[in-house]
C-alpha cells in the first residue's frame, strides 16, 4: 500500500476510471493541462489526451448540460465544479435534468454514467463563497445519489463506486482534508459500496453521526468524552442518498441517544431528515431528545469562522447535555 493524501487518492481513482472505459471524459474549469486548481486531475490530460481531459469555458450550467448529454450517450462523464459554492448555476441541469432523465423517459434514456465532483466545506478561511456545504439542496431531489468521503482511503473507494454506479452521483470532496488527510491507500482498484454507513468506533452511551470533514470533529469529541467516562459510538454516514437508516437505527437502539453534526446551516440541513426518521424508528429506545450540532443559519463567515464551526467542544457540550438529560 502507498501513502497518499486525498488528492492523490482521487487522482488514482480517476486514472483507473479513465483506463477502464475508452469514452470516459473528465472536464471542468482548469482541469486540463493545469490539473485543476487543487491538482486533483494532475497528469491525466498528458496520459489520456485533450479529447478526454479538457478545460471547459467558465459555465457551470454548461458543464452540467454538456455532462448530461455526454452521459446520455453512454460515455462516463466526470464533471468537476471547481467549488460547491458555484454549483448553483448548474442547479437546473442537476435537479430537473440529471435527476429526472431516467424517470421522465420511462428508462428510454438515462444519465447513470454521470459523476459530479465538487470540493465543499469550510475551515480554510474561505469566507462565504468558498466554504458552503450544499448537500441538503440535492438530498431533496429524487434521482440523485450523494456521497462524501472522510479520508484518502474512503475517497478512492467511494469515488470508484460513484463512477461505476448507474445513477447520477454528486461526490462532495472535503477540501479542508485534501492535503491534510494522509493514509494508506491501495494503488490497485477497490470499491466501497454506496449507501452503507460505517461504524468507525463502537460505544455504548451515545451515537455520534456525521460525514466528510465533520468526522474528524466528532471523533475528537468522542476522545474528549472518553476522558469523562462517556462511551461514544461514532458513525460515518458516507452516503447521504441513499442513506443507511438501518445502521444508524441499530446503533441508536443500542445507545438510546443520538447527536448529528454537519457544517451546513441547521435549518433543513440533512441532520433534520435523520432526526425525524430516527425518532420514528427508535422512539421507544430514546433516552434523550436527538440533537444537532451544526452551522448557524447564517452565510458562512470569514473572521468569526472559529466561532461558527460546529467544533469538537460544541459536540462535547451536546454529548454531556444528552447524557445528563
Amino acid at each position: 500500500m502507498a501513502q497518499m493524501n486525498m488528492l492523490q487518492a482521487i487522482n488514482s481513482a480517476l486514472d483507473i476510471s479513465m483506463s477502464e472505459h475508452p469514452l470516459a471524459c473528465i472536464f471542468g474549469e482548469d482541469v486540463g493541462y493545469f490539473g485543476g486548481v487543487f491538482r486533483a486531475t494532475s497528469g491525466l490530460q498528458e496520459k489520456y489526451g485533450k479529447h478526454r481531459v479538457f478545460n471547459t469555458p467558465l459555465t457551470e450550467q454548461g458543464i452540467l448540460g454538456f455532462a448530461n448529454g455526454l452521459a446520455a450517450a453512454g460515455a462516463p462523464a466526470i464533471a468537476e465544479i471547481q467549488f460547491a459554492d458555484y454549483i448553483f448555476p448548474a442547479f437546473d441541469q442537476i435537479v430537473n435534468e440529471s435527476a429526472k432523465f431516467r424517470y421522465r423517459s420511462g428508462n428510454e434514456f438515462n444519465v447513470g454514467k454521470l459523476t459530479i465532483r465538487t470540493p465543499y466545506g469550510g475551515g480554510i478561511a474561505g469566507g462565504l463563497y468558498h466554504s458552503q456545504s450544499p448537500e441538503a439542496y440535492f438530498a431533496h431531489t429524487p434521482g440523485l445519489k450523494l456521497v462524501v468521503p472522510r479520508n484518502a482511503y474512503q475517497a478512492k473507494g467511494l469515488l470508484r463506486a460513484c463512477i461505476k454506479d448507474d445513477n447520477p452521483v454528486i461526490f462532495f470532496e472535503p477540501k479542508r482534508l485534501y492535503r491534510a488527510s494522509v493514509g494508506d491507500v491501495p494503488e490497485d482498484d477497490f470499491i466501497i459500496p454506496i449507501g452503507k454507513a460505517e461504524v468507525v468506533s463502537e460505544g455504548s452511551d451515545i451515537t455520534l453521526l456525521a460525514w466528510g470533514a465533520q468526522m474528524e470533529i466528532i471523533e475528537k469529541a468522542a476522545e474528549m468524552a472518553k476522558q469523562d467516562g462517556i462511551s461514544c459510538e461514532v458513525i460515518d454516514l458516507r452516503s447521504i442518498q441513499p442513506w443507511d437508516v438501518e445502521t444508524v437505527a441499530k446503533s441508536v437502539t443500542k445507545t438510546g441517544r443520538l447527536i448529528i453534526s454537519h457544517e451546513a446551516p441547521i435549518t433543513c440541513g440533512f441532520g433534520a431528515e435523520i432526526a425525524a426518521t430516527i425518532q420514528q424508528e427508535c422512539f421507544l429506545h430514546l433516552e434523550s431528545p436527538i440533537s444537532r450540532v451544526c452551522g448557524l443559519d447564517t452565510p458562512y463567515p470569514l473572521a468569526l469562522e472559529k466561532e461558527y464551526i460546529p467544533d469538537a467542544l460544541k459536540v462535547l457540550s451536546a454529548i454531556k447535555h444528552s447524557v445528563h438529560f
Binding site: 475508452p22 471524459c25 478526454r52 459555465t59 454538456f66 423517459s105
Partner: protein, 404 residues
C-alpha cells in the same frame, strides 16, 4: 493569426461603432409561394421517395394536430401543442439527416419523430399516458421520446437540451476503436440536431451550449425555429439585433438562415450543415424563419395578441408550397392526395378511441426509474402506499384492483 485574446489583429484609428445590422444576413429560399423553383436556384439532391415521405409526414402531422387540438377541447386529453406552420422546417430538416443521428427537440417537433417512424398508436399512448406509453405515463402530452428512433425524450424546462446536445454530439466525435479494424478511428459517423424556439435562445443554456460547442468543437446542428412568438411575447420583445443567426456568428459558429416555410430550402441547408459537421466535427447554426400559425399550446389564445391579417395562412403554409413543388415535378397525384385526408382523419379518431381505453400504468411504476433500481426508502414507501390503496379500493379505482 492567433493571439492570447483570440481576436482579429486588425489595427484601426477610427472611433466607429460596429452596427449590428451591418451583418445583413440573407434568408435562403428555393421555392416561390406556388412551389416553383426560384429562378437561378440550385435544386438540392432529393429523390422522389424522400420528397414524398416529407410530404406525407407533413400531412399526417397537420391531421394529427387538428384532431388532437379538438380532442383537447373535448376534454379527452389534458394538453396539446401544434406544429402548425412549422411542419416544413421540422420535417425537412429531419429528412436531411441519417435516421440514427440524435434528435434533441424542444417540444413542437413531432413531425421529426413521425418522419423517423413513430406510429400513430405510439403518439396516442403517450398522449393518453396509458401503460403502453414508452414514457410510462409520467409526463404531460407531447413529451415524446424513443431510444429506438434516436429521439431524446422531451423535457419541459426550456432550452436545457441545448448544452446537452453539445455533450451528446461530443460523444460522437471522441476517437474510438473501430470494431472491424481494431484501429483507433476519428471518423464521425453520426451527429446531433438540437431544435429550439427563438424564445429559448434567451435562456442561459443557449449561451452555454453554443459557446461550448464552438470551443470544444462538437458536431451538432443547432436548429433555431424563429416563429415570431414565445407564447404571447413577440420576437422584438425577446431579443434585439438580427435574429438568432447573428448570435451564431458571434459564437464563432458557421451559420445559415433559411425560409422555414420552404421545405426544399430547409432540406438543402440541413444537408449541407450535416456534411460540414461530419467532415469537420464542428457545429452549425440554422435559423428557420417560419410563422407559428397556431397557438403556442392549448392553454394559449393568440387572438388576444395578434391579428387575423397577420395569420394569413396560405402564403405561410409550408405544405401547400411543397405540394406545388411535388405537382410540378409530377411526383404527386392530386386526386389521390385528397382522398388520403379522409382516411387519415378516420384512423386518428379510431386510435384515440383505442388509446383512451387502455389502462393507466400499474402503481409500481411510481417508484421505478427514479434510480436504476428502487432504493430501500422507495421500496418501503411503495409497500406502505399499496397497503393504503388496498384498504381503500373505492378511492383509488385505477390501481386498487391490480394490487397483488
Amino acid at each position: 493569426m492567433t493571439n492570447p485574446q483570440n481576436v482579429s489583429l486588425n489595427a484601426s484609428k477610427e472611433l466607429e461603432f460596429i452596427d449590428p445590422s451591418a451583418l445583413d444576413i440573407p434568408t435562403v429560399s428555393l421555392l416561390d409561394e406556388n412551389g416553383h423553383l426560384v429562378k437561378g436556384a440550385v435544386e438540392p439532391n432529393i429523390d422522389k421517395e424522400t420528397a414524398l415521405r416529407i410530404y406525407k409526414t407533413m400531412r399526417f402531422i397537420r391531421a394529427l394536430d387538428e384532431r388532437m387540438q379538438a380532442a383537447q377541447r373535448q376534454g379527452r386529453v389534458s394538453f396539446y401543442m401544434q406544429c402548425l406552420g412549422e411542419e416544413g422546417a421540422v420535417t425537412a430538416s429531419a429528412a436531411a439527416l441519417k435516421d440514427d443521428d440524435m434528435i434533441m427537440a424542444q417540444y413542437r417537433e413531432q413531425a421529426a419523430l413521425r418522419y423517423r417512424g413513430f406510429s400513430l398508436e405510439q403518439f396516442m399512448n403517450q398522449m393518453f399516458s396509458n401503460e403502453k406509453d414508452l414514457g410510462k405515463g409520467r409526463q404531460m402530452p407531447i413529451h415524446y421520446g424513443s431510444k429506438e428512433l434516436h429521439y431524446m425524450t422531451i423535457s419541459s424546462p426550456l432550452g436545457t437540451q441545448i448544452p446537452q446536445a453539445t455533450g451528446y454530439a461530443y460523444s460522437q466525435k471522441i476517437p474510438h476503436i473501430d470494431e472491424d479494424s481494431g484501429e483507433l478511428s476519428s471518423e464521425i459517423n453520426n451527429i446531433t440536431i438540437c431544435y429550439f424556439g427563438e424564445g429559448a435562445a434567451s435562456e442561459g443554456d443557449f449561451h452555454a451550449g453554443l459557446n461550448m460547442a464552438a470551443v470544444l468543437k462538437a458536431p451538432v446542428i443547432f436548429f433555431a425555429r424563429n416563429n415570431g412568438y414565445a407564447i404571447s411575447t413577440p420576437a422584438d420583445e425577446q431579443f434585439a439585433g438580427d435574429g438568432i443567426a447573428s448570435r451564431g456568428v458571434g459564437y464563432g459558429i458557421k451559420t445559415i438562415r433559411v425560409d422555414g416555410a420552404d421545405a426544399l430550402a430547409v432540406y438543402a441547408a440541413t444537408q449541407k450543415a450535416r456534411q460540414f459537421s461530419v467532415e469537420t466535427g464542428e457545429p452549425v447554426l440554422i435559423e428557420s424563419i417560419a410563422y407559428r400559425l397556431g397557438a403556442h399550446s392549448t392553454s394559449d389564445d393568440p387572438t388576444g395578441y395578434r391579428s387575423k391579417e397577420e395569420e394569413n395562412t396560405n402564403t405561410k403554409c409550408p405544405i401547400l408550397r411543397f405540394k406545388g413543388y411535388l405537382l410540378s415535378k409530377g411526383w404527386l397525384d392530386e386526386a389521390e392526395d385528397n382522398a388520403d385526408d379522409e382516411t387519415l382523419r378516420e384512423e386518428i379518431l379510431e386510435a384515440v378511441k383505442v388509446a383512451e381505453k387502455i389502462a393507466k400504468p400499474p402503481i409500481e411504476e411510481l417508484v421505478t426509474d427514479v434510480y436504476d433500481t428502487p432504493i430501500p426508502l422507495l421500496e418501503k414507501q411503495l409497500e406502505e402506499l399499496k397497503a393504503h390503496v388496498k384498504a381503500h379500493p373505492d378511492a383509488y379505482p385505477t390501481t386498487s384492483g391490480r394490487i397483488k
